[in-house]
């Protein structure tokens, strides 16, 4: 191979390449081979095959890193870095994508909007996430972000016949484009200051300057705006409830976990990389943002009647907690963000999957009241939902507790006592709105006689997310080790 595409480059890029290839193939095959709508289940199979190849690529990278005892492999002259951090996040993207893909078939059939492009979009989005986690170059990161975001703009508006969905996509697109503009502006300043797009060069150039240098301040401000928008932190969170509510529920699930995880990977790369020397500038800023995010998210969630909206606000508040880990900034804190992202992925996916099961022919099943009597009708789903909600609230022995544990510990270690107290008190607020759902499930009246829409995929996905939420809570050791090694440099 040429000097522009070496074996190492290929080795590092392989998982993303597989995703892109299979995504394109799905588009073609949907058109050529499977004109009959009934054959679409093959597309799911095809997607899973793509994920298997992607997983194999990741696994080989993983073993390579371990067997050679090195921390990272760089490719494309340092634009891509495959390290424990990138691998960890990519595993999360992979699991989230597989879970979403296997529940989508049934759901899209019910919505009457089953198109092959959906599966391709999921793969392309995941491909974008790959670059967000592994990218170490401003341009690579930006392209990864846009690839992911564009797929999501389309997917959010996937229910073409529904105005809510259209509106959500429009809002998300406009605000998303706006924030990308900010981000690009920030990146251009970084380039201007350092003369390079590599994160390490930018970091060196920033470290050489005073953190209160106006150029740096401008870079920090604009980059922060862009990034905070992507993780839906206050005051840039307004798009999230609308987008989450309007999007097809499977997309909402995907958006709320995978996109958020990828954005956090991106955020950590930037804030712990080029902007790490500007900590005195952004730390108070982010602390204020984190408090505002937890406050808006938790307080607004209290009065929601639509579960998707409620979970949207709750996921906003979770972004606040994850930010706290970055604010603490020590090993425990960063570890905490990794653990938090991991457990959040499983528990939040799980909670949305239950909402997916509630969607039946002619029944939206999105209101808190629609869950009434669920304990009576299908106790299994109700118990799973209970586990997910307890975990979201952070009650041991569920996985969610461990995320909060690390975050609180890191705040104590770094002396952020006020933030710690605020964070803990919001746990009590959160339990109130999560338990509104629980309360509804355990009310004896049955409003909805129709059985839940289940499929093999849904049951499998719920089983996996439910089991992981409990297992990580009860025996977290292997998972914590995994998260810890992800930060070894």
């Amino acid at each position: 191979m040429s000097q522009f595409y070496t074996t190492t480059d290929h080795f590092v890029l392989a998982p993303a390449l597989m995703l892109a290839l299979f995504g394109c193939a799905i588009l073609l095959f949907d058109f050529l081979l499977f004109p009959n709508p009934k054959d679409r289940k093959w597309l799911t199979m095809f997607l899973l095959a793509g994920e298997a190849f992607c997983g194999y690529g990741l696994w080989r990278q993983h073993s390579f890193l371990i067997s050679n005892g090195i921390g990272e492999i760089t490719a494309f002259q340092g634009s891509l870095t495959m390290d424990g951090f990138a691998l960890f996040f990519n595993w999360i993207f992979l699991i989230a994508t597989v879970v979403v893909a296997i529940v989508s078939y049934n759901y899209l059939e019910i919505e009457g909007e089953h198109h092959g492009e959906y599966y391709a979009l999921i793969l392309f989005a995941q491909c974008g996430m790959f670059f967000l986690a592994a990218g170490t170059d401003l341009v690579t990161l930006f392209i990864g972000l846009e690839l992911m975001a564009l797929c999501f703009y389309v997917m959010v508006g996937f229910l073409r016949g529904e105005r809510r969905s259209n509106e959500a996509a429009m809002k998300y697109l406009l605000l998303g484009a706006f924030s990308s503009g900010f981000l690009a502006y920030g990146f251009s300043i970084m380039y201007g200051v350092s003369g390079s797009t590599k994160l390490s060069d930018v970091a060196a150039a920033f470290a050489a300057r005073d953190p209160w240098d106006p150029m740096i301040l401008l870079a920090v401000a604009t980059t922060s705006v862009g990034l905070l928008f992507k993780i839906s932190a206050a005051p840039f969170h307004m798009w999230a409830p609308d987008a989450y509510e309007g999007a097809p529920t499977t997309v909402t699930a995907y958006l709320s976990v995978a996109s958020k995880a990828a954005s956090f990977a991106f955020l950590l790369r930037i804030f712990m990389g080029p902007l790490s020397t500007s900590r005195p500038v952004w730390e108070p800023l982010l602390a204020a943002v984190a408090i505002a995010t937890m406050t808006f998210g938790n307080l607004a969630a209290i009065s929601q009647n639509n579960i998707k909206r409620l979970l949207a606000y709750s996921s906003i508040s979770h972004a606040g907690y994850m930010l706290l880990g970055l604010i603490a900034g020590n090993r425990t804190g960063l570890n905490g963000v990794a653990v938090y992202v991991m457990v959040y992925t499983f528990m939040n996916l799980g909670a949305f999957l239950v909402v997916v099961a509630m969607r039946r022919k002619g029944i939206a099943g999105e209101d808190v009241d629609d869950l009434a009597g669920l304990m009576h009708k299908s106790p299994g789903y109700a118990m799973l939902m209970l586990v997910f909600l307890l975990s979201l609230a952070g009650i041991p022995p569920t996985a969610g507790f461990l995320g909060k544990y690390y975050i609180f510990l890191s705040l104590i270690e770094t002396g952020h006592y006020t933030l710690a107290v605020i964070g803990t008190l919001y746990v009590a607020v959160a339990i109130y709105y999560y338990f509104r759902i629980v309360k509804s499930m355990f009310i004896p009246e049955q409003f909805e006689p129709a059985p839940l829409s289940t499929s093999l995929g849904l049951r499998l996905a719920l089983g996996v997310t439910g089991a992981l939420t409990l297992v990580i809570g009860i025996y977290p050791e292997p998972f914590l080790r995994m998260a810890q090694t992800s930060l070894m440099r």
Partner: protein, 509 residues
Amino acid sequence: MDQHLLSIILFTPLAGLAVLLFIPGSSKNVIRIWANVVAFAGFLVSLPLATRFDKGASGFQFVERAEWIPSLGVQYLIGVDGISMLLIMLTTVFGFIAALSSWNAVEERVKEYYAMFMLLQTGMIGVFLALDFFLFYVFWELVLVPMYFIIGVWGGPRKLYAAIKFFLYTLAGSVLMLLGILALYFQYHAQFGAYTFEIANLMKVVLEPGMERWVFWAFFVGFAIKVPMFPFHTWLPDAHVEAPTAGSVILAAVLLKMGTYGFLRFSLPLLPRASNDVEIVRILAILSIVGIIYGALVCLMQKDWKKLIAYSSVSHLGFCTLGIFALNPNGIAGSVLQQINHGISTGMLFLVIGVMYERRHTREISEYGGIAHVMPKYAIVFAIAMLSSAGLPLLNGFVGEFTILQGAFEANRVWAAFAVSGVILGAAYLLWLYQRVMLGQVTNGKNLRLPDLSAREMAVFLPLIAWALWIGVYPKPYFDILEKPVQQLVERVKPGYYQGQAALKAGVR
């Protein structure tokens, strides 16, 4: 068997729960029988704990240790000393009694009901067994969820409000406590370079005084809400009134003791200087005394029978916390014994109410009167329960309250003087209640044909009456069991206390 005795006690209810899941929900009687079998087995396996417990040994016994989450320094570490042994016996006895008393009271969703009880039982036993702070916290939180459902699903008309109030209050307290735990954990790491949650290790940490006080208050919020101490008690009357009978019984008999136990196991040994701080002790003693008197006065106002007993818990638990913060052997030993006593007598009183509620479905005191004529056996049981709660000599309540007052007197005479008024008020509201409900002529026609206690109901009360008499007549074994752990506690908080006392005695001679 000895080396896994505690694990067996801990997991018996959980194993019962696993089997219960396979019993179809429609065969209610099978479920009831199975639940009672499990609860009785839970009591049986805990018996060797009492018989084989070595009173003379100091430190923890039956200790089991295993790695759980090594990267956080968390262990599965359980063990008992005299204090926790007594509380575990209380838990297993009441586990059985609560199951037996629910036979007729619960008709709907019987399976889920007993499942919640078994989960609750494991959580409570775990709280008293854990010697690792993380493990303790997990069990502490585990208790909340089943209790929420017991109140919220099988409770009275305002059950949902009461259940979420209970949950939010205790959760808010315990997350703040978590911050205190983490601060201690971090300080240990800073001083010794290792992460551990083991209590024996955490005791080595020396905190700077300001920090220690903050940690103390963080613990305090968690434990005081659970006890509940004035002014954190407002969740209790709601929870008690709305909970089903067995829920109230467990809540009063065991759950509240988790708070006082927390003070004894964690606040005092881990934060000895803050616990002995003059200001802090004064504040806690005042809150306890206010709780004693305020609780008693509110009892005098109640029209609802169950609410009255609920407020009496506030008053009685005030004695327990006062005893703890007298910080001397009498106070602490009396406090532990009073915790057991309160469990027995208040548990009995809630059962007494439950028996009547099943017959009449009202708890208005004015609906009753002259019941003693209709239900003579019931009258005797109620009288014993009431007198034991009021602290009549020869019954259990007297021994505990007397010892606590002794301790309080030693610490500060003014405290004792105020606390005594609580005893008098206690006798007043209980005797008045008994008079209004049981004595006189039957005024309400609906009460004329009430059936007396059945054999099953007698079986619920008899062991408790026997226990109350035992403690009342011959409390020595209890004080023997408590002597060592209390001595260790006092030595820890007030080093040199015993030498000082010995010197004092020598001087008097």
